[in-house]
Amino acid sequence: MTTDSGTEFADTPDFRKKIRAWLEENCPEDMRDGAGGEGEICWGGRNWTFASEGQKLWLERCAAVGLTVPTWPKAYGGAGLSREQDKILKEEMTKLGARSPLDSFGIWMLGPALLKFGTEEQKQHFLPPIARGEIRWCQGYSEPGAGSDLAGVQSKADDKGDHWLVNGQKIWTSYADKADWIFALLRTDRDAPKHKGISFILMDMRSKGVTTRPIRLISGASPFCETFFDDVKVPKEQVVGEVNRGWDVAKYLLTHEREMISAGGQTMGAGRPLGAVLADSETGASDPVLRADAMRTEIDALAMELTLERYKDQAEGGQGVGDASAMLKYAGTELNKRRLELVMAAGGSDTLAWEDGRAPSWLRTKANSIEGGTSEVMLSIISRRILGLGA
């Protein structure tokens, strides 16, 4: 293994062979079970306790060669892979049943935003710890009064000369109680039109004045919180992009979040093919309504998979798919809800006991079409920005 991250892989002609050999040699046995449910994710961070020695080794080995963030530049902890190579990597990982070594809001959301809007110093400072799984981030966008109307955020950062003074409240902050840092949308100009007075600010959750309070979900889990800022002092250089232009950063980040949710939606909580779900069901072969629903869902899911593929083929150089992410998010999450409805119907009363585990997944999917922008908001984005329908 080399210390200069990723040098082994990028630019090799026999990439598939190389990567397969590396995976076979380095992926610990217990990380080869193909699991990817919410309970099996390795989130990393200061407070992280590894579920097993294997999980720890797998993260360390991948991080050492840039494979926790394969497409990021090597300089920031990635492996500098092309999209084509990344696809091959994912295929080889799937073949081996390899788990994802690390998932986080830093990888999915903040990273892409920093790569586009961050200063060189910010990239150097914040990206490598994300890649190594040392710092875990949470997203401070929503507020009690600003959900779909996100640009209505009222939590504020006042310019105190040598620092920002932050006050206000966020809500639905996923994993705020576990995260090390937060990226937040804060109002920095109260007189400007609402989209023009917001800044994108990074804060250490250990700062004095930050508190969190968990909220329990219908699935029984409690992965999100209310987050309070009470005279929190934040260094001036922790603004990403220009002051008062945070909305641009926020929107760009959201397109990545939406792609992530739509892709994750394909398998989340229901990694098993619908054919197998039906086969296991007592009425899977005899109930014509269940079968018809499953067939329709399968057809739409295959078309969705191909569309993800096509959009990625369309997007050049890792630029993301832009507004069309609204389509992926809408279609992917609505589909995932249908899939889990089927899982429940196929499983019958067996699914109704908490310990069975299917009900929490089913309930969790209901959030897919709310988090990251609701389905209705996605349809509005499509009709306004893509179709040009409007007042």
Binding site: P273, A279, M295, R296, A303, L306, M327, A331, L387, L389
Partner: protein, 371 residues
């Protein structure tokens, strides 16, 4: 696999096709033909032949341009946009695909005739109201070196105009496929007045004598022969239907922007915006399935069934939604014969049934996905 985006070559083909069709085959041309009681446009077909479209799947040695299925889908989609009346699908896609699989000199000659525009085909398959290629009653009995055909076919698309018919028949050892010239003793063709104003016919075979030479045989055995033709046809029909859906959608959003009620464009009503956006999403998903089917047919035709059925099922469903929403969002004008949306609705209905409906293809997908 090749990327799921159109190549530069395909983009150029699309531009050329759109220009030709907008000039020579706009929807108003279909209306004209309908009003004249016509189901053929020979001048248009000759124009397509000259542009190389008839030979899109014909090898260069036989005078074709041999551009492959994905390219053929580009043409089919454009024809779907303007509801073009032509024997393209039956002839240049289905018949050409079947004939290509038979390596013999006779089939080569037939392919040349397709590319040069001197022959057109219809596929005589259905015998009942639903597509069911495994249950064929039309009988082919051996007599001497040839066969005698007896039975009936219905919903034979392009059946009254075609110079040739491919007939699926039940032989003594199973299904067989014949390639016949349509003008012959014992074969009666009665055209049906179809809702889409296109050609379809009922064919009655009464002791039709055919030579052994007219039985098609594939290089690798006859069983696959029709399947390749059908899958090529189903995918191209999906592409045509996809184009139809796209055009109906564009007509609808155009109208939403233009029509005013309550003093504002109706496009400003969120109830309509969201329905239009939903329809657009459905079209996007279907577009991916169609592109994928073209790529698979070109790269791995032995294993294209899943991709093709996925495309046909999705396209069928999406087009139906597009025309239903199309009529509804136009209000009263959408119901008038003078407005084009009705033509789209009627063609979508016919395309839904031809070569297997949603249920047929959904069952194929389910089977191949382990249901």
């Amino acid at each position: 696999m090749a990327k799921l985006i159109q190549t530069e070559e395909e983009n150029m083909l699309q531009d050329a096709a759109r220009a030709l069709l907008e000039r020579s085959a706009p929807v108003s041309r279909l209306r004209e033909l309908r009003d004249q009681g016509q189901t053929r446009d020979d001048a248009l077909w000759q124009e397509m032949v000259a542009a190389g479209w008839a030979g899109i799947l014909v090898p260069e040695a036989a005078g074709g341009v041999d551009m492959g299925h994905a390219a053929a889908h580009v043409l089919a989609r454009e024809m779907g946009r303007t509801l073009t009346v032509s024997p393209f699908l039956s002839t240049a896609i289905i018949a050409a695909t079947v004939l290509r699989r038979c390596g013999d000199a006779r089939s080569q000659a037939a392919l040349s005739d397709i590319a040069s525009g001197s022959r057109t085909y219809a596929l005589a398959l259905d015998e009942s109201a639903k597509f069911n290629p495994e249950h064929i009653a039309l009988k082919a009995e051996k007599r001497g070196n040839g066969y005698v055909l007896n039975g009936e076919k219905q919903f034979v698309v392009d059946g009254s105009n075609a110079t040739h018919v491919m007939v699926l028949a039940q032989g003594e050892d199973g299904l067989c496929l014949f390639d016949l010239s349509a003008d012959r003793a014992g074969l009666t063709r009665t055209s049906t007045e179809m809702i889409d104003s296109r050609d379809a016919a009922q064919l009655v075979f009464e002791n039709v004598e055919v030579s052994g030479d007219e039985l098609l045989v594939a290089d690798g055995g006859g069983a696959d022969l029709l399947r390749f033709g059908l899958e090529a046809g189903q995918a191209a029909l999906a592409a045509e239907t996809g184009g139809l859906a796209q055009a109906a959608f564009e007509m609808t959003t155009g109208y939403l922007k233009e029509r005013k009620q309550f003093g504002v464009p109706i496009a400003s009503f969120q109830a309509l915006q969201h329905r239009a956006a939903h329809l657009w999403c459905e079209i996007e998903l279907t577009t991916s399935a169609i592109l994928h089917a073209g790529r698979i047919l070109d790269s791995d035709p032995q294993n294209a069934t899943l991709a093709v059925s996925l495309a046909k099922a999705r396209a069928t469903d999406t087009a139906q939604l597009a025309v239903r929403e199309g009529v509804q969002m136009h209000g009263g004008i959408g119901m008038t014969d003078a407005y084009d949306m009705g033509f789209y609705m009627k063609r979508a209905r016919v395309a839904a049934e031809w070569l297997g409906d949603y249920g047929y293809h959904a069952a194929q997908v389910a089977r191949l996905r382990g249901f």
